[in-house]
C-alpha cells in the first residue's frame, strides 16, 4: 500500500498547454504530444526522435499533465507503442498513480455530491472529466481530470449550493459578486468538498456565449454512466457534443490539447448527432463556438478531409458572434467577455444591474479575492488595455 500525495494536481488546475502551433513551428516534443493525443484515431505513435533522457521524459510528462493527455501516454505505453527502460517506466507510473488516485478521490466525492443532491430532489448532470472518463473513453484511466463539474438548473442553484455547504461541509472560497448575481449571470460557483473542487455550473461559459445558451434543453434528456455501481446522469450525445465544443473553443486560450482530443473522440463516437448539434448551436447563437472548436481540432490533429468534424468547420457564423468570440481570445480576455455580455443581456435594468455588479462588487467578494475596490477597478482597466496577463 502506498501513500499518495495528490496535492500538486490542485496547483495545476489553471495551467494550459502552450498553444496548438502551426505545423511548421512545432518542435519534436510538440509532434510527439499531438501524436499521443491523436492515437485513438491514427492507431500508432511515432518513435521518439532519440532515446529519451530522464530530463526529456520528465518534460514530456509535464506537458502531458498540463494538456491532460497523461492518460493517453499511459495508453500508448500499454499498447506497446514504445519500449521504456525501468527508470522511465517508474517515472510514468509514479505520475499516473498520483493523477489516477486523484481521480478516485474525485469519484468518491462525486458519489457524496450525487447522493446529497438526490436527497434534496435537485436534478443534475455530470460534465467533463468524470462523465467522459466512463462514458466516452473505453478505459477510464486514459482520461485524467482535476475537479468535478456538475450542471444544475439556474432555479436550483441556490439550493444546490446550500446542500453542498451544509450537508457535505463544503466551503465556498469566493463570495458572490453581488446578491443574485449567481442566479442571473454566473457561469458556475466553486465549492470545495472533501478539500476537492466542485464546479457547480449553470452554463458552459462566462461571457455572451454562456448567456445565449439555453441550459434547460440539457435537462430534457440524459444518458447514464456508472461509478462504483451507482448510476449517474450525464448529457445526451448532442449535449456532450456541444459542451465539448464550448470546452475546446472557450475553456482555455490557447485551447487545451486534452479538450480537443475529447471533441475529436465525441465526434467520432456520435457523428449521427452532428445535425442536432448544429441546430442546437443555431438556437443558442453559438455557431462561432462550434466552428472555432472544429477548426482548432482539425489544425491540432491534422484531420483528414473526410473526417466528420469537417462539417462543423463549415458552419456559417453571424458577424456578431465573430466579435463575441474575439473577446475570449484577445488580450484582456479575463474581462472582455464580461463586457461583451452587455450586448446580449436583455433590458436596460438588467444590464444596469449587471454592470453595477462588475464595477462595484460586494465587499465580501473583494475580500474573498484579496482585493480592494480601487485595486479591482485598476486591474480591470489594465486588463482591458492589454497591460496585464490574463
Amino acid at each position: 500500500m502506498v501513500p499518495i500525495d495528490t496535492s500538486m494536481i490542485d496547483r495545476m488546475g489553471a495551467s494550459t498547454i502552450r498553444g496548438t502551433r502551426s505545423p511548421a513551428a512545432r518542435s519534436d516534443l510538440d509532434r510527439l504530444l499531438l501524436a499521443i493525443a491523436a492515437m485513438p484515431l491514427q492507431g500508432g505513435v511515432p518513435e521518439p526522435p532519440a532515446k529519451f533522457t530522464a530530463a526529456e521524459f520528465d518534460e514530456l510528462l509535464d506537458r502531458c499533465e498540463r494538456s491532460r493527455t497523461l492518460g493517453a501516454l499511459g495508453d500508448a505505453i500499454e499498447r506497446g507503442e514504445w519500449e521504456l527502460d525501468d527508470d522511465l517506466m517508474d517515472r510514468l507510473s509514479d505520475r499516473l498513480l498520483i493523477w489516477l488516485s486523484h481521480s478516485l478521490r474525485l469519484e468518491r466525492t462525486t458519489l457524496r455530491v450525487a447522493a446529497a443532491l438526490g436527497s434534496a430532489s435537485i436534478p443534475f448532470r455530470m460534465l467533463k472529466g468524470v462523465a467522459l472518463a466512463h462514458f466516452l473513453y473505453g478505459e477510464p484511466s486514459h482520461r485524467i481530470f482535476v475537479d468535478l463539474d456538475i450542471l444544475i438548473r439556474s432555479d436550483d442553484l441556490d439550493e444546490a449550493i446550500r446542500v453542498l455547504l451544509s450537508d457535505l461541509d463544503g466551503v465556498r472560497p469566493e463570495a458572490q459578486v453581488r446578491t443574485g448575481f449567481d442566479l442571473e449571470f454566473a457561469k458556475d460557483v466553486t465549492i470545495r468538498v472533501d478539500d476537492l473542487e466542485v464546479d457547480v455550473h449553470r452554463t458552459f461559459a462566462r461571457g455572451p456565449f454562456g448567456l445565449t445558451m439555453d441550459p434547460e434543453e440539457l435537462f430534457l434528456g440524459s444518458d447514464i454512466f456508472s461509478i462504483g455501481g451507482t448510476a449517474l446522469p450525464t448529457l445526451t450525445p448532442t449535449g456532450l457534443l456541444i459542451h465539448g465544443c464550448f470546452d475546446a473553443a472557450l475553456g482555455n486560450h490557447p485551447p487545451r490539447l486534452g479538450s480537443l482530443r475529447d471533441l475529436m473522440l465525441l465526434v467520432e463516437r456520435w457523428p449521427e448527432h452532428l445535425d442536432d448539434l448544429i441546430e442546437m448551436g443555431g438556437r443558442w447563437q453559438a455557431q462561432a463556438v462550434i466552428r472555432r472548436a472544429a477548426v482548432e481540432t482539425i489544425a491540432a490533429f491534422d484531420l483528414a478531409d473526410d473526417h466528420p468534424i469537417r462539417r462543423l468547420a463549415d458552419v456559417s457564423v453571424p458577424w456578431r458572434q465573430v466579435l463575441f468570440l474575439r473577446s475570449y481570445t484577445t488580450q484582456g480576455r479575463g474581462y472582455w467577455p464580461q463586457f461583451a455580455s452587455l450586448a446580449v443581456i436583455p433590458g436596460v435594468r438588467t444590464r444596469a444591474r449587471y454592470l453595477h455588479a462588475l464595477v462595484r462588487p460586494s465587499p465580501e467578494y473583494l475580500e474573498s479575492r484579496g482585493w480592494t475596490e480601487r485595486g479591482h477597478l485598476r486591474r480591470a482597466v489594465r486588463q482591458l488595455r492589454g497591460q496585464l496577463d490574463d
Partner: protein
Amino acid sequence: MTERDAPPLYQRRVDVLWRRVLEGVALIPPGQDQVNHFGAPMAIVWSSLERPVSVEQLAEELVEIFDVTLDVVRSDMEQVMADLVDLGAVVSNE
C-alpha cells in the same frame, strides 16, 4: 461435493472505486479515504475477481503466469483474499 463442502468464492465489491495504473491497480474501498496501490500480480488477481472465484481457481490461473508451485500460490492467495476481505474490497460467500 455438497454445497456445504464447496470452497468459498471471492468477488470484487461492486462499490469499490478502482483504476488500472499501467500494470498495477489503485482502489478505494467503500467508506474509506485511503487509496491503495498494488503492483502487477495483484492487478491480475483483481481482474479475475470480476466474477466469483475460489482460491483454487485463482491459484490455477496464476501458476501458469508465475514460475512457482501450485501449493505456494494457493497459500499466498488464501492470505491475499483474507487481506482483501479485511480491506473491504472483496466479498466472500463464506
